[in-house]
Amino acid sequence: MKSVDITGSSVSQIIARYARENNCSIDDLRYEVIDKGTSGFLGFGRRPATVRIIIEGIEKRIRTYIEQLMQKLQVNCSAVKCTIDRKTVYVEIEHPDDPGFLIGKNGSMLETLQFMVNRVFEHTREIERIYLDTENYRKRREKTYLTPFIPLIKQVKTSGKALTLDPLPAPERRIIHHYIESDSSLRTLTVGEGENKRIVIFSAKQNEKDVIKKIAPDTSQPKDRLNRKRRPGPPRKPANKTSAAKKKDV
Protein backbone atom coordinates (compact mmCIF):
# COMPACT_ATOMS: atom_id res chain seq x y z
CA MET A 1 0.00 0.00 0.00
CA LYS A 2 1.50 3.30 -1.09
CA SER A 3 0.99 6.58 0.68
CA VAL A 4 1.87 10.25 0.34
CA ASP A 5 2.41 12.91 2.96
CA ILE A 6 0.96 16.31 2.19
CA THR A 7 1.49 19.46 4.19
CA GLY A 8 -0.95 22.34 4.18
CA SER A 9 -2.60 24.93 6.36
CA SER A 10 -5.31 22.63 7.77
CA VAL A 11 -6.36 18.99 7.66
CA SER A 12 -9.69 19.61 5.94
CA GLN A 13 -8.11 21.88 3.37
CA ILE A 14 -5.51 19.23 2.42
CA ILE A 15 -8.12 16.51 2.05
CA ALA A 16 -10.48 18.67 0.03
CA ARG A 17 -7.69 19.71 -2.30
CA TYR A 18 -6.43 16.15 -2.74
CA ALA A 19 -9.94 14.88 -3.48
CA ARG A 20 -10.46 17.61 -6.04
CA GLU A 21 -7.14 16.98 -7.75
CA ASN A 22 -7.63 13.23 -7.93
CA ASN A 23 -11.24 13.11 -9.01
CA CYS A 24 -12.55 11.25 -6.00
CA SER A 25 -15.01 12.04 -3.26
CA ILE A 26 -13.82 12.88 0.25
CA ASP A 27 -15.70 9.89 1.67
CA ASP A 28 -13.65 7.48 -0.43
CA LEU A 29 -10.29 8.73 0.78
CA ARG A 30 -8.33 6.88 3.40
CA TYR A 31 -5.94 9.01 5.41
CA GLU A 32 -4.09 9.38 8.67
CA VAL A 33 -3.57 12.69 10.37
CA ILE A 34 0.11 12.97 11.26
CA ASP A 35 0.12 16.52 12.53
CA LYS A 36 -3.03 18.52 13.09
CA GLY A 37 -1.08 21.75 12.98
CA THR A 38 -2.01 24.95 14.74
CA SER A 39 -2.77 28.35 13.40
CA GLY A 40 -0.84 29.72 16.37
CA PHE A 41 -1.60 32.82 18.31
CA LEU A 42 -1.23 36.13 16.47
CA GLY A 43 1.00 34.40 14.00
CA PHE A 44 3.31 32.93 16.64
CA GLY A 45 3.87 29.20 16.91
CA ARG A 46 2.13 28.45 13.64
CA ARG A 47 2.62 24.86 12.55
CA PRO A 48 1.39 23.42 9.24
CA ALA A 49 -0.77 20.32 9.25
CA THR A 50 0.43 17.08 7.71
CA VAL A 51 -1.82 14.33 6.40
CA ARG A 52 -0.75 10.96 5.10
CA ILE A 53 -3.04 9.89 2.30
CA ILE A 54 -3.14 6.19 1.53
CA ILE A 55 -3.23 5.56 -2.17
CA GLU A 56 -5.41 2.61 -2.83
CA GLY A 57 -4.43 -0.08 -5.29
CA ILE A 58 -5.83 0.16 -8.79
CA GLU A 59 -7.90 -2.95 -8.22
CA LYS A 60 -9.73 -1.37 -5.31
CA ARG A 61 -10.28 1.85 -7.23
CA ILE A 62 -11.80 0.05 -10.20
CA ARG A 63 -13.96 -2.03 -7.91
CA THR A 64 -15.35 0.95 -6.00
CA TYR A 65 -16.01 2.78 -9.26
CA ILE A 66 -17.94 -0.15 -10.72
CA GLU A 67 -19.85 -0.73 -7.49
CA GLN A 68 -20.93 2.90 -7.48
CA LEU A 69 -21.84 2.70 -11.16
CA MET A 70 -24.00 -0.38 -10.55
CA GLN A 71 -25.75 1.38 -7.69
CA LYS A 72 -26.46 4.42 -9.89
CA LEU A 73 -27.71 2.17 -12.69
CA GLN A 74 -30.04 0.60 -10.11
CA VAL A 75 -28.62 -2.85 -10.68
CA ASN A 76 -28.02 -4.90 -7.56
CA CYS A 77 -25.25 -7.44 -7.67
CA SER A 78 -23.81 -9.77 -5.09
CA ALA A 79 -20.17 -8.89 -5.72
CA VAL A 80 -17.75 -7.24 -8.12
CA LYS A 81 -14.71 -9.42 -8.66
CA CYS A 82 -11.49 -8.00 -10.06
CA THR A 83 -8.60 -10.08 -11.41
CA ILE A 84 -5.47 -8.55 -12.79
CA ASP A 85 -3.39 -10.36 -15.37
CA ARG A 86 -0.28 -8.32 -16.12
CA LYS A 87 -1.77 -5.06 -17.42
CA THR A 88 -5.25 -6.32 -18.17
CA VAL A 89 -8.03 -6.20 -15.65
CA TYR A 90 -10.96 -8.59 -15.82
CA VAL A 91 -14.00 -7.45 -13.89
CA GLU A 92 -16.79 -9.88 -13.17
CA ILE A 93 -20.12 -8.51 -11.98
CA GLU A 94 -21.61 -11.42 -10.10
CA HIS A 95 -25.32 -12.26 -9.99
CA PRO A 96 -26.88 -8.99 -11.12
CA ASP A 97 -30.63 -8.82 -10.51
CA ASP A 98 -31.22 -7.62 -14.07
CA PRO A 99 -28.62 -9.26 -16.34
CA GLY A 100 -30.65 -8.56 -19.48
CA PHE A 101 -30.42 -4.83 -18.88
CA LEU A 102 -26.75 -4.95 -17.98
CA ILE A 103 -25.81 -6.90 -21.10
CA GLY A 104 -28.18 -5.14 -23.47
CA LYS A 105 -28.99 -6.06 -27.04
CA ASN A 106 -26.09 -8.15 -28.39
CA GLY A 107 -23.99 -7.05 -25.45
CA SER A 108 -24.23 -3.37 -26.38
CA MET A 109 -24.76 -2.13 -22.83
CA LEU A 110 -21.89 -4.20 -21.47
CA GLU A 111 -19.71 -2.92 -24.30
CA THR A 112 -20.69 0.72 -23.59
CA LEU A 113 -20.08 0.39 -19.86
CA GLN A 114 -16.73 -1.21 -20.57
CA PHE A 115 -15.85 1.68 -22.87
CA MET A 116 -16.75 4.21 -20.15
CA VAL A 117 -14.73 2.40 -17.50
CA ASN A 118 -11.76 2.27 -19.85
CA ARG A 119 -12.00 6.02 -20.49
CA VAL A 120 -12.05 6.74 -16.77
CA PHE A 121 -8.94 4.69 -16.07
CA GLU A 122 -7.25 5.57 -19.37
CA HIS A 123 -4.44 7.55 -17.81
CA THR A 124 -3.56 5.03 -15.16
CA ARG A 125 -0.16 3.63 -15.89
CA GLU A 126 -0.55 0.36 -14.02
CA ILE A 127 -3.18 -0.99 -16.39
CA GLU A 128 -3.85 -1.02 -20.08
CA ARG A 129 -7.32 -2.39 -20.50
CA ILE A 130 -10.37 -3.36 -18.49
CA TYR A 131 -12.79 -6.06 -19.56
CA LEU A 132 -16.26 -6.27 -18.05
CA ASP A 133 -18.17 -9.49 -17.86
CA THR A 134 -21.31 -10.71 -16.19
CA GLU A 135 -22.84 -14.16 -15.88
CA ASN A 136 -20.03 -15.44 -18.13
CA TYR A 137 -21.65 -13.62 -21.06
CA ARG A 138 -18.39 -12.69 -22.74
CA LYS A 139 -16.96 -16.18 -22.28
CA ARG A 140 -20.05 -17.76 -23.80
CA ARG A 141 -19.95 -15.36 -26.69
CA GLU A 142 -16.28 -15.98 -27.34
CA LYS A 143 -16.97 -19.68 -27.43
CA THR A 144 -19.67 -19.35 -30.07
CA TYR A 145 -17.48 -16.96 -32.01
CA LEU A 146 -14.63 -19.47 -32.06
CA THR A 147 -16.61 -22.52 -33.23
CA PRO A 148 -16.19 -21.90 -37.00
CA PHE A 149 -12.44 -21.40 -36.50
CA ILE A 150 -11.78 -24.59 -34.57
CA PRO A 151 -11.66 -26.93 -37.63
CA LEU A 152 -9.30 -24.48 -39.36
CA ILE A 153 -7.04 -24.39 -36.34
CA LYS A 154 -7.03 -28.20 -36.17
CA GLN A 155 -5.99 -28.29 -39.80
CA VAL A 156 -2.91 -26.23 -39.01
CA LYS A 157 -2.07 -28.72 -36.30
CA THR A 158 -2.30 -31.77 -38.57
CA SER A 159 -0.83 -30.32 -41.78
CA GLY A 160 1.77 -28.08 -40.14
CA LYS A 161 1.09 -25.45 -42.79
CA ALA A 162 0.69 -21.82 -41.75
CA LEU A 163 -2.82 -20.44 -42.13
CA THR A 164 -3.68 -16.82 -42.84
CA LEU A 165 -7.14 -15.71 -41.78
CA ASP A 166 -9.23 -12.94 -43.34
CA PRO A 167 -8.82 -9.43 -41.91
CA LEU A 168 -10.69 -9.09 -38.62
CA PRO A 169 -11.33 -6.19 -36.24
CA ALA A 170 -9.13 -5.96 -33.15
CA PRO A 171 -11.48 -7.43 -30.52
CA GLU A 172 -12.11 -10.49 -32.69
CA ARG A 173 -8.41 -10.97 -33.36
CA ARG A 174 -7.82 -10.80 -29.64
CA ILE A 175 -10.22 -13.69 -29.06
CA ILE A 176 -8.30 -15.87 -31.53
CA HIS A 177 -4.88 -14.87 -30.20
CA HIS A 178 -6.11 -15.60 -26.71
CA TYR A 179 -7.46 -19.01 -27.69
CA ILE A 180 -4.24 -20.05 -29.47
CA GLU A 181 -2.16 -18.92 -26.52
CA SER A 182 -3.61 -21.79 -24.50
CA ASP A 183 -2.26 -24.28 -27.07
CA SER A 184 1.50 -24.69 -26.72
CA SER A 185 1.93 -26.38 -30.12
CA LEU A 186 0.62 -23.37 -32.04
CA ARG A 187 1.58 -19.73 -32.31
CA THR A 188 0.07 -16.63 -33.89
CA LEU A 189 1.29 -13.43 -35.44
CA THR A 190 -0.32 -10.49 -37.15
CA VAL A 191 0.45 -9.25 -40.64
CA GLY A 192 -0.86 -6.22 -42.49
CA GLU A 193 -1.65 -2.67 -41.55
CA GLY A 194 -4.74 -0.80 -40.41
CA GLU A 195 -7.97 -2.35 -41.64
CA ASN A 196 -6.12 -5.21 -43.28
CA LYS A 197 -4.56 -6.81 -40.24
CA ARG A 198 -4.72 -10.57 -40.49
CA ILE A 199 -3.85 -13.35 -38.12
CA VAL A 200 -1.40 -16.03 -39.16
CA ILE A 201 -1.60 -19.29 -37.26
CA PHE A 202 1.44 -21.53 -37.48
CA SER A 203 3.07 -24.42 -35.73
CA ALA A 204 5.32 -23.60 -32.79
CA LYS A 205 8.11 -25.58 -34.49
CA GLN A 206 8.27 -23.10 -37.36
CA ASN A 207 10.41 -20.00 -37.26
CA GLU A 208 8.45 -16.76 -37.21
CA LYS A 209 10.66 -15.15 -39.89
CA ASP A 210 10.28 -18.11 -42.25
CA VAL A 211 6.53 -17.95 -41.87
CA ILE A 212 6.45 -14.25 -42.69
CA LYS A 213 8.66 -14.85 -45.74
CA LYS A 214 6.44 -17.65 -46.96
CA ILE A 215 3.19 -15.76 -46.63
CA ALA A 216 4.50 -12.38 -47.76
CA PRO A 217 3.82 -12.95 -51.48
CA ASP A 218 0.30 -14.29 -50.94
CA THR A 219 -0.85 -11.55 -48.60
CA SER A 220 -0.56 -8.84 -51.21
CA GLN A 221 -2.85 -10.65 -53.63
CA PRO A 222 -5.76 -11.80 -51.50
CA LYS A 223 -5.91 -8.33 -50.00
CA ASP A 224 -7.43 -6.97 -53.23
CA ARG A 225 -9.77 -9.89 -53.55
CA LEU A 226 -10.93 -9.38 -50.00
CA ASN A 227 -11.47 -5.68 -50.37
CA ARG A 228 -13.78 -6.41 -53.24
CA LYS A 229 -15.55 -9.08 -51.26
CA ARG A 230 -16.14 -6.79 -48.34
CA ARG A 231 -17.89 -4.12 -50.33
CA PRO A 232 -19.85 -5.89 -53.01
CA GLY A 233 -22.55 -3.23 -53.42
CA PRO A 234 -21.38 0.23 -54.41
CA PRO A 235 -18.12 -0.50 -56.24
CA ARG A 236 -19.64 -3.10 -58.56
CA LYS A 237 -22.64 -1.15 -59.76
CA PRO A 238 -20.76 1.78 -61.27
CA ALA A 239 -18.34 -0.73 -62.81
CA ASN A 240 -21.21 -2.52 -64.52
CA LYS A 241 -22.75 0.73 -65.66
CA THR A 242 -19.56 1.99 -67.20
CA SER A 243 -18.95 -1.30 -68.95
CA ALA A 244 -22.53 -1.24 -70.27
CA ALA A 245 -22.08 2.35 -71.37
CA LYS A 246 -18.88 1.40 -73.12
CA LYS A 247 -20.65 -1.40 -74.98
CA LYS A 248 -23.29 1.02 -76.15
CA ASP A 249 -20.62 3.35 -77.41
CA VAL A 250 -19.09 0.57 -79.43
Partner: protein, 76 residues
Protein backbone atom coordinates in the same frame (compact mmCIF):
# COMPACT_ATOMS: atom_id res chain seq x y z
CA UNK B 1 -30.92 10.12 -13.49
CA UNK B 2 -29.20 13.44 -13.00
CA UNK B 3 -27.15 11.75 -10.32
CA UNK B 4 -26.00 9.04 -12.73
CA UNK B 5 -25.09 11.55 -15.43
CA UNK B 6 -23.13 13.59 -12.93
CA UNK B 7 -21.30 10.50 -11.75
CA UNK B 8 -20.38 9.45 -15.30
CA UNK B 9 -19.17 12.89 -16.33
CA UNK B 10 -17.33 13.79 -13.15
CA UNK B 11 -15.20 10.66 -13.42
CA UNK B 12 -14.17 11.64 -16.95
CA UNK B 13 -13.19 15.27 -16.56
CA UNK B 14 -10.19 16.94 -14.98
CA UNK B 15 -12.23 19.58 -13.24
CA UNK B 16 -15.33 18.02 -11.62
CA UNK B 17 -16.32 21.26 -9.88
CA UNK B 18 -17.07 22.84 -13.27
CA UNK B 19 -19.59 20.15 -14.22
CA UNK B 20 -23.04 21.67 -14.39
CA UNK B 21 -26.20 19.82 -15.36
CA UNK B 22 -29.60 21.43 -15.82
CA UNK B 23 -32.67 19.26 -16.05
CA UNK B 24 -35.49 20.46 -18.27
CA UNK B 25 -38.63 18.37 -17.92
CA UNK B 26 -40.91 18.29 -20.92
CA UNK B 27 -44.18 16.38 -21.39
CA UNK B 28 -42.49 13.44 -23.06
CA UNK B 29 -38.76 13.95 -22.97
CA UNK B 30 -36.50 15.12 -20.19
CA UNK B 31 -33.59 17.13 -21.50
CA UNK B 32 -30.30 17.24 -19.66
CA UNK B 33 -28.05 20.11 -20.55
CA UNK B 34 -24.47 19.36 -19.73
CA UNK B 35 -21.90 22.08 -19.25
CA UNK B 36 -18.26 21.39 -18.50
CA UNK B 37 -15.17 23.55 -18.43
CA UNK B 38 -13.78 24.45 -21.83
CA UNK B 39 -10.70 22.25 -21.52
CA UNK B 40 -12.82 19.21 -20.65
CA UNK B 41 -15.23 19.36 -23.57
CA UNK B 42 -13.04 17.10 -25.67
CA UNK B 43 -13.01 14.47 -22.94
CA UNK B 44 -16.79 14.41 -22.69
CA UNK B 45 -17.28 14.18 -26.44
CA UNK B 46 -14.39 11.84 -27.19
CA UNK B 47 -12.94 10.67 -30.46
CA UNK B 48 -15.65 10.99 -33.11
CA UNK B 49 -18.19 11.50 -30.35
CA UNK B 50 -17.69 8.02 -28.96
CA UNK B 51 -17.75 9.04 -25.32
CA UNK B 52 -20.77 11.30 -25.86
CA UNK B 53 -22.56 8.42 -27.56
CA UNK B 54 -21.65 6.07 -24.73
CA UNK B 55 -23.09 8.50 -22.17
CA UNK B 56 -26.27 8.82 -24.24
CA UNK B 57 -26.59 5.04 -24.60
CA UNK B 58 -26.35 4.53 -20.86
CA UNK B 59 -28.80 7.36 -20.05
CA UNK B 60 -31.24 6.11 -22.70
CA UNK B 61 -31.10 2.55 -21.42
CA UNK B 62 -31.70 3.56 -17.82
CA UNK B 63 -34.55 5.94 -18.67
CA UNK B 64 -36.25 3.32 -20.87
CA UNK B 65 -36.07 0.95 -17.94
CA UNK B 66 -37.93 3.54 -15.87
CA UNK B 67 -40.43 4.14 -18.67
CA UNK B 68 -39.17 7.64 -19.45
CA UNK B 69 -37.29 9.31 -22.25
CA UNK B 70 -34.17 11.36 -21.77
CA UNK B 71 -31.85 13.31 -23.99
CA UNK B 72 -28.40 14.61 -23.23
CA UNK B 73 -27.06 17.73 -24.83
CA UNK B 74 -23.53 18.95 -24.41
CA UNK B 75 -23.40 22.73 -24.41
CA UNK B 76 -20.23 24.59 -25.32
Amino acid sequence: MKDLLEFLVKALVDDPSEVNITEITGDKVTLYELRVSKSDIGKVIGKRGRTANAIRTIINAVSTKQGKRAEVEIIE
